[in-house]
Symmetry: C2
Subunit: 387 residues, 2 copies
């Protein structure tokens, strides 16, 4: 299955690449779609009555396609420059009250954590931690523990829960829909913010995205789209309760009037001019992925690779995988006796093999995607054995 | 001078284009710089130790070059996705007090106005208007009136003044440095937000940018850079007084820690992943402009065109220019007896001539840039005469 896809990724031609969770390779057809749309914009526009239908077509098509991936109506999907903006932007407009509590998992990205801390400082909120970093067993066992811990952590003041779908450090999958159901029973029904940075293009996300209040993704990791474009699904109640913060012509229902109201739908969280050619590139990348099978099919291929790597690491005396069983997705995190993670990354890089290190917990992370070959995995395992 | 520059703009090959104030044409070398950097990112990266020096070089070079254009140290320059974000982002982090007043000119862009209205609603601020739309005389006469009106409008509660440098509707230039000097004498020294959407690439802006607290620009209009990239210059006091709102790894001095402090410099207002290839494209566009002469030289060429157009419109019986004298920059706004502005735009578009309409005041706007030829101006005048 992945051979024809892989052939379209020039980044993989001269290296052994395992950093899909950092940034995915850009397929040649996607770069061509980007440059072709720029050429068309020059031919028709760039700011003319002739170009608007073309731009509407690019944006409309991607909104429709991504809404399908997210499993939400297009009216609930907003575009952002990156996943962090998608996580944070809607938060600033929610009706906070001093004393509200933010319950944040201990595996969230530093950018989101720092934004929540600043929000808490300004609005007089408290922050509590939901520990999930230590959940190294099966997805089912982890889910049970997450729900138990959530039960213990929920307080009358809890107003928001922040939890990634696929944890970027341990690679564990979180039970987002079950968490959402539990929150719906809380007297104040806390909002649920899901950082989906590692989800889109890696695991099926429709159930989780439909259950969350904010489900934010980026196109430049597992989707292999261009950097600088992400999207978020917003719940109906969030759209009603949250006000836009960063505001521009794209937020306004009448873009030529400063006293205009905001779009009633998710576009109220979009801002102003962004780079439409990137939208054409992301759409092309999504189409290439779709041609490789359904989200479930693709995850099965991803798991084949991550399981092979996990098993191989088990057999390597010096390595300890963070997860006790084969990973549920494509993130394989492990610790290695001996050199510091940063040193290992550098030495592997010198051999053209690219993985990354993480600080918390201190570990190494290799990602397998549908483009990853058995030979690549074996090359990594061999290089680790010879370090 | 402009012949070689013009030859690099494919958008101008098949149309008569006057919408530089909406979006500039993208030069072929800039598109090539964008695609070349994407190819290099694939070759070296996209997420590898080998690619970081290349990306640092792209971002460092553009920050340095743009800082020179803005006339501020690189530490005072931050990048944003668009000019509206550059205007609005720093505002949300300023230490507002209920009752503070925002003094906003009546020529500001709807996006910025709507953002200020939402800020006022949340923080309990009042909004007052500084009328400048009616200033149709010389720049010097307008400056005198602006300062008189500012004097009348300033109140003890005034905390922010919002004024564009080059008004997007009438095309008048505002005395930013003089306004800044006046505000410095006010007991509370109100912050000065300058929307420079029409400035960068059109008029010299170093004096104004250095005097403002926030001076926000975009690269995709007069600079002929790609859409989706802008920058803002921030004053030292703003950097000390304002807290970031949208926060991501690029805001943090230690990007791997959620309890990190923010960068002490302007990078605290940058967020997370953006599209670095666009940076390479904007740098190429700036270099092409620099090769055409200094900002002053280029403005002189722009004025030759706008003066020719303004004179020609004067001679056209049905047209009334908004400005009473030759425009100080490249924006030429006018009203036409007869058809509604939108109808005129459409009819000209059918002939391959592109200008735009504005709502407030209802008018037509044509822009001349260094790439505009006398033939194009005469073609527009001829077409208007024959409407």
């Amino acid at each position: 299955m992945p051979a024809d896809f892989r052939a379209q990724l020039p980044a993989l031609a001269n290296k052994t690449y395992f950093n899909y969770g950092g940034q995915g390779p850009l397929p040649t057809p996607s770069l061509e779609a980007i440059t072709a749309s720029w050429r068309t914009i020059q031919e028709l526009g760039p700011f003319t009555g002739a170009v608007w239908p073309f731009l509407d077509q690019i944006s409309g098509r991607l909104r429709q396609r991504l809404a399908h991936w997210f499993g939400v109506p297009p009216q609930r999907l907003a575009f952002t420059e990156n996943v962090t903006s998608g996580c944070v932007l809607p938060l600033w407009g929610l009706p906070w009250q001093a004393g509200d509590e933010l319950l944040i998992s201990d595996c969230e990205h530093p950018g989101v954590v720092a934004a929540c801390r600043e929000l808490a400082r300004r609005e007089g909120l408290t922050i509590a931690s939901l520990p999930v970093a230590d959940l190294r067993g099966t997805v089912a066992a982890s889910a049970t523990t997450v729900l138990e811990r959530l039960e213990q952590a929920l307080r009358p003041a809890t107003r928001l829960v922040v939890l990634s779908h696929l944890l970027w450090n341990t690679g564990q999958v979180m039970p987002i829909a079950a968490v959402a159901s539990r929150l719906a029973c809380h007297r104040r029904h806390p909002w649920l913010l899901v950082d989906g940075a590692q989800s889109l293009g890696c695991i099926p996300l429709a159930e989780a995205a439909a259950a969350a209040d904010i489900y934010a993704c980026t196109g430049h990791k597992w989707c292999c789209g261009p950097e600088g474009l992400g999207a978020m699904a917003l719940s109906e109640r969030l759209l009603q309760e949250a006000r836009p913060t960063l505001i521009g012509w794209r937020s306004l229902s009448q873009e030529s009037s400063g006293s205009s109201g905001f779009h009633p739908d998710s576009r109220r969280f979009e801002v102003a001019t962004s780079c439409l050619p990137l939208w054409a590139g992301l759409e092309q990348s999504l189409k290439l992925l779709e041609a490789q099978g359904s989200a479930e099919d693709r995850l099965a291929v991803i798991q084949q690779g991550s399981h092979r790597l996990w098993v191989g690491l088990q057999e390597l005396g010096a390595a300890t995988c963070l997860l006790e069983g084969p990973p549920p997705a494509g993130l394989v995190s492990f610790q290695l006796a001996g050199d510091a993670p940063g040193t290992v990354v550098k030495r592997l890089g010198e051999r053209g093999i690219w993985i990354r290190s993480l600080d918390d917990p201190a570990c190494l992370r290799a990602c397998t995607h549908i483009s990853t070959t058995s030979n690549e995995i074996d090359a990594l395992l061999g290089a680790l054995a010879r370090l």
